[in-house]
Amino acid sequence: MAAYILRRLLALIPVLLLVSVTVFTIVRVSQGDPSLLLVGEEGNRELASRIREELGFNRPIPLQYLDWLGHVARGDMGRSMRLPYPVNQLIADKLLVTLELALLATLVSIAIAIPLGLYAALRSGGRGETAVTALTAVGVSLPNFWLGILLIFAFSVSLHWLPSSGFSPLQQDLLGHLKLLLMPVFTLALANAAIFTRLFHTSMAEVLWQDYIRTARAKGLGQWGVLVGHGLRNALLPLVTAIGVHFGRLLGGAVVVETIFGIPGLGRLMVEAVTGKDFTVVQAMVLYLTIVTILSSLMVDVAYAYLDPRIRYG
């Protein structure tokens, strides 16, 4: 197992190198001289040439890449081109906010998916299954930005139950914090809830046809004993993979959700970096995201081996 994990971690290196070359090249080729970008289109030419000299933008591109890579390898992602902070500090400040949002959304989507999927599997061929299938079709098709706006309209504008946007740190005011997160978390969770429900429905329906379920029933185990003791355990495996795969992708949803609800997280940072042409931030986020997605898929594979004793990695 340890050897397997080590091999997977080593495989990260070529992937990251490839991604870094691609990102660096695209930024340089499409944006041209970064020193002009720093002083602005109408900026001082003399200042631009001094920056160029000082920061080494006049050297050959491959050399600049190696220089940049050297810093990146030591964890130094450079400074933001828009704000007076190092990129790493900007990202670290927002990381926890988005992480909390993503974790809560994952929990909510699992809490929706397991009962609904189980219900549909038990009502196979009946109205209950049709209703859940229709619900999931609506769930995957609802645009998150529209759902967010509808929720704000219903619960903030009309009913005045919840604040429409903003963010207050957890330590200051726990209740206010949760109230502010309620709508964003649900908005972020819904699409995944629909995907997980479909998946869990299918895997549960398959498991219920297995011989060991019939055996469990035949030996007189009650409905819940069969479902929890034998059904759930086996049907959960595909869901574990899906959760791992979709966790990294939640950042895509976070971009939209954080924008609507005014949450200062990574998603908003990404949008601001893109619209403000802050390429050092975009570069760093793409690299970090690559690492996170690869590590989360590794974690899923390892979790799999623990959940299913038949799986062994050599």
Partner: protein
């Protein structure tokens, strides 16, 4: 997912999906004939009018008729999405055919690249590409198309792997057919239904992604009305005039739902025959 038997009982998703998707395409095509107003005409006398007999869906902050804008927006959104689907279908099928047919190092390299793309959230990838290339209709089509490519390539490749082993492909190889002929005449027709299903689901994805980009402010530049930009503009008037944001969102939702159901239904109908 729904239970159905034989060819006579079409899955419900196919019926409902083609109805919704068909009506929306028809409305988009007929937009200039149906739209009661010019979608870009400003009417200072009718700012933020609520829905009513004169303006079915109301007007926006500078008095433009929302119903007409949504109809014309359908043309923009559907055209962009169709173009993106075309890009992803061509790229994805090419990758799948090459990868599945030749295997070996070709397969290795192509699939690693596809996995790399698949690992990213689609919206982030599209955002990053557009930030580097600048926002225009062309870059949006390319970005959305490229993001939708790896999924299609992966699924189609697995079917190519199966088809490659079939007797008629072996026979064609034996009689000396060229690779190009085998790929285009023998394998492609057998994976075509799979590509069509993916294309329909990708159309829903493309509409959603394009609208998200427009909503985030990196969409097609004005004045062309797109559903995402309309929603973004309406968002600021949510308290005074909720209809401005709600109706374009409903249009996006219905269209995405229609094409998703169509894709699901097509898959249910086409996949048993493919085997």
């Amino acid at each position: 997912m729904s239970q159905h038997s034989g060819l006579w009982t079409l899955p419900q998703s196919l019926t409902i999906g083609s109805l919704i998707a068909g009506s929306i395409v028809a409305l988009a095509v007929l937009a200039p004939a149906i739209a009661p107003y010019d979608p870009v005409r400003v009417d200072p006398g009718a700012l933020l009018t609520p829905p009513g007999p004169a303006h079915w869906l109301g007007t926006d902050d500078i008095g433009r008729d929302l119903f007409s804008r949504i109809l014309h927006g359908a043309r923009t959104s559907l055209t962009l999405a169709l173009a993106a689907v075309l890009v992803s279908s061509l790229l994805g099928s090419a990758v799948a055919l090459a990868s599945g047919y030749w295997g070996g190092p070709v397969d290795m390299v192509l699939m690693r690249i596809m996995d790399g793309f698949l690992a990213f959230p689609g919206l982030i990838l599209a955002l990053a590409m557009i930030s580097f290339l600048g926002a225009s209709s062309l870059t949006i089509v390319l970005a959305v198309g490229i993001v939708a490519t790896p999924g299609l390539a992966r699924i189609t490749r697995s079917q190519v792997l199966i088809e490659r082993q079939r007797d008629f492909v072996q026979a064609a190889t034996v009689v000396g057919a060229t690779d190009a002929r085998i790929l285009l005449r023998h394998i492609l027709p057998n994976v075509a239904s799979l590509i069509v299903v993916q294309a329909s689901l990708n159309l829903a994805f493309a509409i959603l992604t394009e609208a998200s980009l427009s909503f985030l402010g990196v969409g097609v530049p004005p004045p062309a009305p797109t559903w995402g930009t309309m929603l973004r503009a309406g968002y600021s008037y949510l308290e005074k005039a909720p209809w401005v944001a709600i109706s374009p969102g409903a249009a996006i939702f219905l269209t995405v739902l229609g094409f998703n159901l169509l894709g699901d239904g097509l898959r249910a109908v086409l996949s048993p025959r493919g085997r």
